[in-house]
């Protein structure tokens, strides 16, 4: 098992390196001189030269990548063009908010998806199954940014039950566990939970259906095992794969919340990205993408390891 952990971790290293290379290159695929990503276009020439030297932009690309990676590894993600401040403190609080939102959406979507999917898989062909399939397809087909607007119209505009913008009543963006804060998270979390719910439903329907069709289940049934015992066997066999899907979905929630965060003005990484795009603040874009994708790489590794831990067959 330790060898497995070591091997998987080792395999993520080149991926992480390649992902950072991609993020590094983002500044260079942006139209214009990369110096425009650091300085405003109206900067005087001597300042441009000075900054170019300070950032190492006068050096060849591989050297630049080395310097950039060194800084990133030491916690220096650069400065925002728009505010001139260090990126990390802002990104840090945005990350926390996105994590809270993603976790809330996961807490809604995963159990519901598991429930619908398992029931549908166990009763293939029944009306429950058909309803679950429709629900799953609708869940993955709905443009969630539009769903967010529908939620705002119904629950904020027409019924006036829940707030439609921001993360807290005082607008500070600092999160706390009271009703004022909870009421702000309800709509974006439900909106964001629809896609993972659909995907988890779809996956679990397939897994549970497949397991129930296997010979050992027939044998267990033939030996007179009761429903409770059968469920235990199904859960044990479905868990590794279900866990993998949910783990990846958590990553997609973190990375995919940009649209929903924009709709609800949720002060997370998505809003940060959106503002960065609008202000052409490429360093902020780069840093946010880097941190989010590194999170995703780490999550992938964690899912791999959890699977190996749960299912000896996965320990290749």
């Amino acid at each position: 098992m330790i060898a497995t952990i070591f091997r998987r971790a080792l395999y993520s290293l080149p991926i992480a390196l390649a992902v950072s290379l991609f993020c590094f290159l983002l500044v260079h695929i942006a139209p214009g001189d990369p110096i425009n990503a650091i300085l405003p276009p109206d900067a005087p020439a001597d300042v441009v030269a000075q900054v170019k030297e300070a950032y190492g932009l006068d050096k060849p690309l591989p050297v630049q990548f080395g310097i950039w990676l060194f800084r990133v590894l030491h916690g220096d993600l650069g400065r925002s063009l728009a505010t001139g401040r260090d990126i990390w403190p802002d990104l840090h609080s945005a990350l926390a908010n996105t994590l809270v939102l993603a976790a809330a959406a996961a807490m809604i979507g995963f159990p519901l998806g598991t429930m619908f999917g398992s029931i549908a898989g166990a009763f293939r062909g029944s009306w429950i199954d058909r309803a679950a399939v429709v629900l799953a397809v609708a869940g993955v087909s709905v443009p969630h940014y539009w769903l967010g607007m529908v939620m705002v119209v119904i629950f904020s505009v027409l019924l006036n039950w829940l707030p439609s913008m921001g993360a807290s009543p005082d607008g500070s963006g600092v999160w706390a566990l009271d009703w004022g804060h909870l009421s702000h998270i309800v709509l974006p979390a439900i909106t964001l939970s629809v896609i993972p719910m659909g995907i988890v439903t779809r996956t679990l329907r397939g897994i549970v259906g497949d397991i129930l069709n296997q010979d050992f289940i027939t044998t267990l049934r033939g030996k007179g095992l009761r429903r409770g015992g059968l469920i235990a066997h199904v859960v044990k066999n479905a868990a590794p794969q279900a866990l993998a899907v949910m783990g990846l979905q958590l990553g997609y929630l973190m990375g995919g919340s940009i649209l929903v965060e924009t709709v609800f003005a949720w002060p997370g990484t998505g809003l940060l990205l959106n503002n960065a795009i609008f202000q052409r603040d490429i360093p902020v874009l780069q840093a946010t993408i880097l941190v989010l994708s590194m999170f995703f790489v780490g999550l992938n590794l964690a899912v791999d390891l959890a699977q190996a831990l749960l299912d000896p067959r996965m320990r290749r």
Partner: protein, 284 residues
């Protein structure tokens, strides 16, 4: 004189499709949308660009404007129809391009194997390390707004998954006996791929690609929604949703319309793709 021929694969597929009512209905809806969009100049009652300050945000059912007007007084019907042209183009073209490029690379990786296959698959792995939305936003965010950049970004998002599918089906076909015997009889790699591999792998890759159209539509409109795809005043469903956000207090129904179009299109493409998959009996 009548000869009995064994039923071909495709006639079986069509027979199964004909029995699948849901798939038929969804294909019908998509076809209808396509016809309306193609015939847009004939059908749209007004120009999608012509606004008017006095006709802003008229409700649904307003005389002359059955679906009302948007925040600049432009006819919603015209904008939805013309918007569909752009949304469909933005949503479908990345999948078509990715199907071509990704399919090719995947088949090469699967058939050739070795260092070339390894190289292609490892580069693919890198792109898998990004959630798809994030990758699309990263690329088009760095490149800047515009239709071309949005299509480019989405194409790059969809190439890796198509490569993976193409590679895995090609690998499974490559080891089959008839490919082996073709190789033994002296056929070149190109001939084997063209005659023996392609007909057997294109179906599954195609079905997988159709499955991506739904996601692509949502992402493409999403990019426009973020201001990364189309630019105003061009009508596009995602962009319309964004600009109509200001109207959710006055005319919530009108503000929802473009999203309804995206939803219907995306759910229909999903259904048709699922129907195709089971009709062609492609294992997921």
């Amino acid at each position: 004189m009548s000869t009995t021929r064994p039923e071909g694969y495709w006639s079986g597929v069509f027979k199964r499709l004909k029995r699948d009512k849901l798939t038929l209905i969804c294909s019908g809806i998509l076809l209808l949308m396509l016809i309306v969009m193609i015939a847009a100049p004939l059908i749209a009652p007004h120009s999608p660009y012509q606004g008017s300050m006095i006709r802003r945000l008229k409700p649904i059912g307003f005389p002359g404007y059955p679906l009302g007007t948007d925040e600049l007084g432009r006819d919603m019907i015209a904008r939805l129809i013309y918007g569909g042209r752009l949304s469909w183009t933005l949503g479908i073209s990345p999948v078509v391009i990715a199907f071509t490029i990704g399919g090719m690379l995947g088949i090469i990786a699967g058939y050739a194997g070795g260092w070339l296959g390894m190289l292609i698959m490892r580069v693919t792995d890198i792109f898998y390390a990004f959630p798809s939305v994030l990758l699309a936003v990263a690329i088009s965010g760095a490149l800047g707004a515009g239709i071309f950049n949005a299509v480019l970004a989405l194409t790059l998002v969809f190439i890796p998954p198509i490569i993976r599918v193409a590679e895995s089906v090609t690998t499974s076909v490559r080891v089959l006996d008839y490919v082996e015997s073709a190789r033994a009889s002296g056929a070149g790699a190109f001939t084997i791929v063209r005659v023996h591999v392609l007909p057997n792998v294109l179906g599954p890759i195609f079905v997988y690609a159709t499955n991506l159209i739904s996601v692509s539509m949502i992402l493409a409109s999403g990019l426009s929604f973020l201001g990364l795809g189309t630019k105003p005043p061009e009508p596009e469903w995602g962009l319309m949703l964004n600009t109509l956000r200001t109207a959710i207090y006055n005319q919530p129904l009108i503000a929802m319309l473009p999203g309804v179009c995206i939803f219907i299109t995306s759910i229909c493409f999903n259904m048709v793709s699922d129907g195709l998959r089971s009709a062609m009996d492609v294992r997921n």
